[in-house]
């Protein structure tokens, strides 16, 4: 690029999508392969390319499910209730890093992260506070318990809290994220369970839910996070589908009927910057999953063939400079999710690159969803881009690329084996670095980072983006008008007092016996979930349960470097 020479800059690359699929300058009939009608079907019908419901949002509006979680359960409960009061229709609860890993707030390694990045939970009482005054039979609750080591005890604690309030567990509707790849490849932390063990716990939770919690989605395959860690769109979807395949085969192998097992698996995808490529990805996802279920598993029940998914706009595209531009980015990304037929949506807050979202930023994000559904008219007709030469062309191209990657993963013995072999880590980090290099040399432009605004931030550059470090240097970070999140003082102490109180009231003998039973379940290969539920009933803490799982199932070192 020519940022140091004063020569004219190249226009941004437009001849391919972000992942490198060639983009027709003007798509026409010849860009769409024959047999389109068979590849599409009608909305609500196999292969569900056009959506899983016949009338989509007319009859089933997507759920406004804004992510929230910080400090103590009482603090987060206030945020949940504020969001519900202001028009959210579901809860999306995120936990702090120690809680995700089933590490106690009283562990020395946890101290600086208690209540950061999510809410701190240690005992079932925290779930009493977290969901106080929220009608759990009417509001669906997504627990962003991403790692199986935490997902199992979190669900047991949620169940204990709900049953204490008199709810029948069969009435509880919600989702546990519960994704072994989150534990072993996507988010790092000391002492991850090994991939096969984490996958086993994931499927233990799913099997338990298939038998006891009919309205619960016990696995949400988190393609979103695969993408944020470095995947491009085809790799995001390939890892997602490969994971879904592994879980489906495992659950059916455990003796669950496919019609029961398959609807237990749901999905979570990213809405990234490249508008049409993302829409193509959402559409291809539905078609590929339906065909796997019908053709590979031989299951003809339509309910078992539907790829149901949640979407979050791409946190990784949010910039710290000029943070209010993130409102525009998120809105456009959210539109792609709606045009792609999502069932549920989180829109990122504009301060995402700087801090835990402020209340103001969280409300702007929620109301962006209202603008989409209520003002724009985009939800009135199912799959409005179906039949577009460009979108059908990209959907087919996406499917072809994803299928090649899925075949490659299956050839390695499936996703668990590919993770053990560090293939997943290598592919993600390679792409993350390549993507950063594109940004460095101007092959990818991001306004506020390497393009678009000059010294005073007020005027554009007439469509000629400055690129590279010279462009970046012109942005004044003084335009940031975001008040960063401050952890309420006393969060750590409150959490530790709560653990102490539970330990004081319980029978240590009974707790130790319940933990020993859990340890035996780990070693004997029986489903761990019933003994996790029993350990919670005996007032075992999250950290104690996590320690048993790690001691008995093993600790794994990330092959990242």
């Amino acid at each position: 690029m020519s940022d140091h020479t004063g020569e004219p800059h190249l226009p941004p690359p437009m001849h391919t999508t972000a992942s490198g699929i060639p983009m027709p300058a003007a798509a026409g009939p010849s860009d769409v392969a024959p047999g389109l009608e068979e590849r599409l079907g009608r909305p609500g019908e196999y292969p569900f390319t056009r959506g899983i419901h016949p009338e989509m949002y007319r009859t089933r509006p997507w759920t406004f499910r804004q992510l929230a979680g910080f400090a103590t359960a009482a603090d987060t409960n206030k945020r949940y209730r504020m969001l519900l009061d202001r028009g959210a229709t579901g809860i999306n609860g995120v936990f702090d890093y120690p809680s995700l890993r089933a590490v106690g707030s009283d562990d020395a390694r946890a101290a600086s992260d208690v209540g950061r990045g999510g809410v701190a939970v240690d005992v079932a009482d925290d779930f009493d506070d977290l969901f106080a005054a929220i009608p759990l039979d009417r509001v669906s609750v997504s627990l962003v318990s991403s790692q199986p080591v935490g997902a199992a005890p979190h669900l047991a604690m949620y169940l204990a809290a709900a049953e204490r309030r008199g709810y029948d567990r069969r009435a509880l509707a919600g989702t546990s994220q519960n994704d072994f790849l989150m534990e072993t490849a996507i988010t790092i932390a000391p002492e991850a369970l090994p991939p096969a063990a984490s996958f086993r716990v994931e499927c233990d939770v799913a099997e338990f839910c298939a038998r006891e919690l009919p309205r619960w989605n016990p696995i949400s395959v988190t393609g979103y996070n695969y993408r944020e860690a470095g995947a491009d769109a085809p790799l995001e979807l390939a890892l997602t589908l490969a994971h879904g395949r592994a879980a489906a085969r495992e659950l059916i192998g455990r003796g669950l009927a496919p019609e029961v097992a398959l609807p237990k698996i749901s999905f979570f995808l990213d809405a990234h910057a490249d508008f049409f490529e993302e829409i193509a990805k959402f559409r291809a996802a539905r078609r590929m999953w339906a065909r796997f279920v019908a053709e590979d598993l031989g299951v003809s029940d339509p309910a078992a063939q539907k790829f149901r998914f949640h979407v979050q706009t791409a946190g990784v595209t949010a910039t710290a400079r000029l943070p209010h531009l993130n409102i525009a980015r998120s809105a456009i990304q959210a539109l792609s999710a709606v045009l792609g037929g999502t069932q549920s949506l989180h829109v990122d807050a504009y301060d995402e690159a700087l801090s835990i979202p402020s209340e103001h930023a969280a409300l702007i994000a929620l109301h962006t969803q209202h603008v989409l559904l209520w003002e724009t008219g985009v939800a009135g007709s199912a799959d409005p881009l179906g039949g577009s030469y460009l979108v059908e062309h990209l959907t087919d191209a996406m499917e072809e690329r994803v299928a090649a990657l899925v075949d490659r993963i299956e050839g390695m013995g499936g996703l668990v084996a590919a993770t053990e072999a560090a293939w997943v880590h290598t592919e993600l980090s390679k792409r993350a670095f390549a993507d950063q290099q594109k940004l460095e040399d101007g092959r990818r432009l991001v306004v506020g980072i390497n393009a678009g605004l000059d010294d005073d931030g007020a005027r554009g550059t007439g469509g000629v983006p400055p690129t590279g470090a010279a462009g970046a240097a012109k942005i004044d970070p003084g335009h940031v008008e975001v008040k960063p999140f401050e952890l309420p003082p006393g969060t750590l102490e409150a959490q530790r007092r709560r653990i102490d109180a539970v330990r004081a009231r319980r029978s240590d003998t009974a707790t130790a016996a319940a933990l020993e039973t859990l340890g035996s379940a780990c070693t004997d290969g029986v489903n761990v979930m019933p003994s996790v539920v029993a350990a919670v009933a005996a007032d075992a803490t999250l950290g104690e349960i996590g320690t048993v799982l790690r001691d008995r199932l093993g600790r794994w070192h990330f092959p990242l470097w």
Partner: protein, 137 residues
């Protein structure tokens, strides 16, 4: 990998680590690749407690310590790391940090002895250039 001779902008060894329980690795691995490409030998520790990090610094005697945090734990963790380095007599090694760091926290980090803060969106070229200046000083 040993630093290439000649035109590489950087040389010497960097000890790189994640702080606390923060789970994001994308940034730290990308920057570690960039430091290696720029000529440094990178020792990536993964997660380290302040004690583990200080022990690694004493053992490896690096030219640079690079830290990463996106969870908001940077003030507590950096304070513990810098104090640990001082107690171990290793306060001479420059410490830099990258990640989701609110600009308003930069003065506090500087006061603790952190030599560079690379917030979200900092180009790799800027990071390498600033580290080169830091190591020449």
């Amino acid at each position: 990998m040993v630093a290439a001779a000649g035109s590489s902008p950087l040389s010497g060894k960097a000890v790189v680590a994640k702080l606390g329980m923060d789970a994001h690795w994308r940034g730290v691995i990308v920057v570690a690749h960039a430091l290696r490409d720029a000529g440094m030998e990178v020792v990536y520790l993964g997660h380290a407690t302040p004690d583990q990090l200080v022990a690694a610094v004493v053992q490896e005697d690096p030219a640079l310590v690079g830290l990463s945090s996106l969870s908001g734990n940077h003030l507590e963790e950096c304070r513990a790391v810098l104090e640990g380095l001082r107690s171990a007599g290793a306060e001479g090694v420059p410490v830099v940090i990258g990640g989701t760091i609110p600009p308003s926290d930069e003065p506090a980090l500087a006061e603790m002895g952190v030599s560079g803060v690379f917030g979200s969106g900092t180009p790799l070229r800027t990071i390498v250039d600033r580290i080169a200046v830091l190591l020449d000083a």
